[in-house]
Amino acid sequence: MLDLTYDTPKPKVIAGAKHDWELVIGMEVHAQVASQAKLFSGASTKFGAEPNSNVSFVDAAMPGMLPVINEYCIEQAVRTGLGLKAEINLTSAFDRKNYFYPDLPQGYQISQLYHPLVGEGEIIVDMEPGIARKVRIERIHVEQDAGKSIHDMDPHMSFVDLNRTGVALMEIVSRPDIRGPEEAAAYIAKLRQILRYLGTCDGNMQNGNLRADVNVSICRPGQYEKYMETQDFSHLGTRCEIKNMNSMRFIQMAIEYEARRQIQIVEGGGKVDQETRLYDPDKNETRSMRSKEEAHDYRYFPCPDLLPLEIEQAWVDDIAASLPELPDEKKARFVKDFGLSEYDANVLTAEVVNAAYFEQVVTQADDGKLSANWVINELFGRLKKDDCDITDSPVSPAQLAGIIKLIKADTISGKMAKDLFEIVYTEGGNPEEIAEARGMKQVTDTGAIETAVDEIIAANPAQVEKAKQNPKLAGWFVGQVMKATGGKANPKAVNDIVAAKLGL
């Protein structure tokens, strides 16, 4: 496999009143599994349906109903594990996590505490070209989502919708390897990208299909290295968990606030309490959820309704064989095969549909850098202006490749290419035919250009003398030639010929 080499980024340092401090961050990301039906029932997972319409008697926890596992959800979790280079546990088991809440009719969540499906893996989190952080994944377990409570529809009542109850989630747990707010956002972005490449989660954060619990602690410089050497958490500070974040911007702001809060406590001689906190974006602060925490005693035990989940190595191997090319590999291949900069390769591989579009362009146009420029600058720029997605692009890869081929063949100038692109974008059509029909063709016939240059020189002897004294005046001749040829002369050829004829 192709790999790009990278250096480790420096951890973020926050200056307190007394000392410098570093951050240590671990994340638990809940990713909704992309599936038709729920984890243990045949009800639909579709978002935005009538309340309580995607609910079976299993989800509503009617007496006597038993869970039957959706094998595809397990396949999706295994695929995710393989995509994160993680070990797959052929035997895993389900446990009950007990608590009462109106949107959890069973009174427990079926999860995997003791024997998760997926073990240790890793994610390479890109920060900038050549700089990336390797974040270790501790585990991925499969569990049920809860329903939704709506508190603002009535002054005295909460309204409960069980449509989301029982939808399959993957909880992806990282080690505390993330060292700053920007890295935390980049971690979520990279994880989301991988999940979308794999097709195991749509990554829609707005709908809550990807949400994170963020564990934050602070330590003095040097302590983290001691932890890494020994894996002994006593070298690190006490952590607080910020629950249920579904915006990359808020994740960064919450971490920043939380780190400063902890620094203030420790520098003031106090002690950070290990607790769960909620971020309030309106006030930009985190607040303790302690009242709830005290009531929480989950009393996990193995779920008696479900046998252990045994899967076969051959099945895992089949899934592994069907994995798509993942972002890191695709990026490395784009750099190597098409001569792209890592930056351009990053942009083009951010979404798998963008990468596929670019590949179709580049294979037809046969010029990596030119294709990358046109896709990123012209096409993406134009689509953005119309608030369009690449899947709605009015310009097909073949059309864009056609324009690029005309540029490469020196048939049209860069300026003409932009005009041609706009015509193809708004009107459609074959670029070559349009260029031909509208006379968009730069004159590269040196004979014709020479004639034009000769005429201008002959008509302006005084200017010729001046130009011989001051070579910068050659530009005047180039301008005259371009004018005489209606802007169709190849500017580079004109430059060269003017210089030669003037003896510069």
Binding site: P51, V55, N98, P155, E310
Partner: protein, 95 residues
């Protein structure tokens, strides 16, 4: 392991079952009797014995990923003490 009055009260609270204070000592005693009975199992030597999860060798039953259930809002809400506009309506719970 011995269950005292406080532990009995905590378990009752976690289970959302109201137990009057004067009933707690008897409840704690009942817990102790049950646990004492179960603790007899500790006398059995199970070193090197695989935990048995099923009496007959069975594989966890699976379903395929198809929508086969749901679309019965009225039935789901039928037993609810209060339901409005398709939602279960419960006394206000806000964190």
């Amino acid at each position: 392991m011995s269950i005292d009055k406080e532990t009995a009260a905590k378990v009752a609270k976690l289970a959302r079952i109201k137990v009057e204070d004067d009933a707690l000592p008897a409840l704690a005693q009942e817990f102790n009797d049950i646990l004492g009975f179960i603790e007899q199992l500790n006398e059995v030597d199970v070193d090197g014995v695989e935990p048995m999860v099923s009496v007959t060798p069975m594989r966890l039953k699976r379903r395929t990923d198809g929508v086969t259930d749901g679309n019965m809002q009225d039935k789901v809400l039928k037993n609810a003490p209060d339901a409005r506009e398709g939602f279960f309506a419960v006394p206000k719970v806000v964190e």
